[in-house]
């Protein structure tokens, strides 16, 4: 039975009681776009405004990092991740790291 995991960034699950605590789970990913997208972003940066290519890239990385965190939580037998935090940092030109972490718990 594939149960959907509850994700939240508050420190509890409203209306449900936490019965078990599995500690910190985290997921991180570093991704870069291909050169074409980098060039496009460079051109876009001449006009100012949103760089859609990079937004897309970070969106994908965020999803991937979250999935990794969820997989880790599932492996430990949790059905919810609470207190989720995101952080982003740049590790190289055109590549960004997204780190996501939270506490894996079991709720009733």
């Amino acid at each position: 039975m594939e149960e959907r995991i509850i994700l939240t960034n508050i420190d509890r699950v409203p209306g449900r009681e936490i019965v078990e605590h599995y500690g910190l789970v985290a997921g991180s990913t570093i991704r870069a776009k291909h050169v074409g997208k980098d060039i496009m972003a460079g051109i876009k940066n001449l006009f100012g405004g949103e760089l859609t290519g990079y937004t897309e890239l970070l969106n994908e990385s965020r999803q991937e990092a979250t999935e990794r965190m969820v997989a880790q939580a599932k492996k430990r037998g949790a059905n919810a991740v609470i207190n989720i935090r995101y952080s982003t940092s740049s590790v190289a030109q055109g590549a960004a790291e997204i780190y996501v972490y939270g506490t894996a718990v079991k709720v009733e």
Partner: protein, 161 residues
């Protein structure tokens, strides 16, 4: 005679290679900025009903039906006119007003995207709202503002009717 000719040539070159391109960049940047602000204001009015708060207290008198993490993110850059002005301001120091608009745009856009995601799950409010800004211009530290990422996230809550 010769020195006045030199001055004229210098002014001419300045106009051709600096003033005119800067003016063009200014106009282009302004055009896209105004267009974006127009759309931000319109969508902000549409989503004004949905409350979001940085506190994590929920309405204790109502039962929670569903909750989910919602996020919105934007990557924004600046145009050459803004970078040029910022470089000048950097010499004397002071408030770099030209970079306030792009950051403001990015923040409001990120909040809107988060809210749009919350509306899709018919949420009543977004609690524990957090916003983070980071520079992802890695390796180009000599630039005053390279590329900035804003991420807004929170927990969307739907109460039982």
């Amino acid at each position: 005679m010769e020195s006045s000719l030199e001055i004229i040539i210098t002014i001419f070159l300045f106009l051709i290679f600096t003033a005119v391109p800067l003016f063009i960049w200014y106009k282009i940047g302004k055009y896209f900025e105004n267009k974006h602000y127009e759309s931000i204001r319109k969508r902000e009015m549409q989503l004004i009903e949905l409350a979001f708060t940085p506190s994590d207290t929920l309405d204790p008198s109502r039962r929670v039906e569903a909750m989910s993490l919602v996020t919105g993110q934007v990557v924004i850059g600046s145009d050459p006119f803004k970078r040029y002005i910022a470089n000048l301001v950097n010499i004397v120091g002071g408030r770099i007003a030209v970079f306030e608009a792009p950051i403001d745009r990015a923040r409001r856009e990120a909040v809107l995207r988060m809210k749009e995601q919350a509306v899709r799950m018919q949420a009543d409010e977004v609690v524990n709202f957090r916003m983070e800004t980071s520079s992802i211009c890695g390796g180009k530290s000599q630039q005053p503002m390279g590329i900035v990422e804003v991420i807004a996230y929170g927990t969307a809550v739907r109460y039982e009717k």
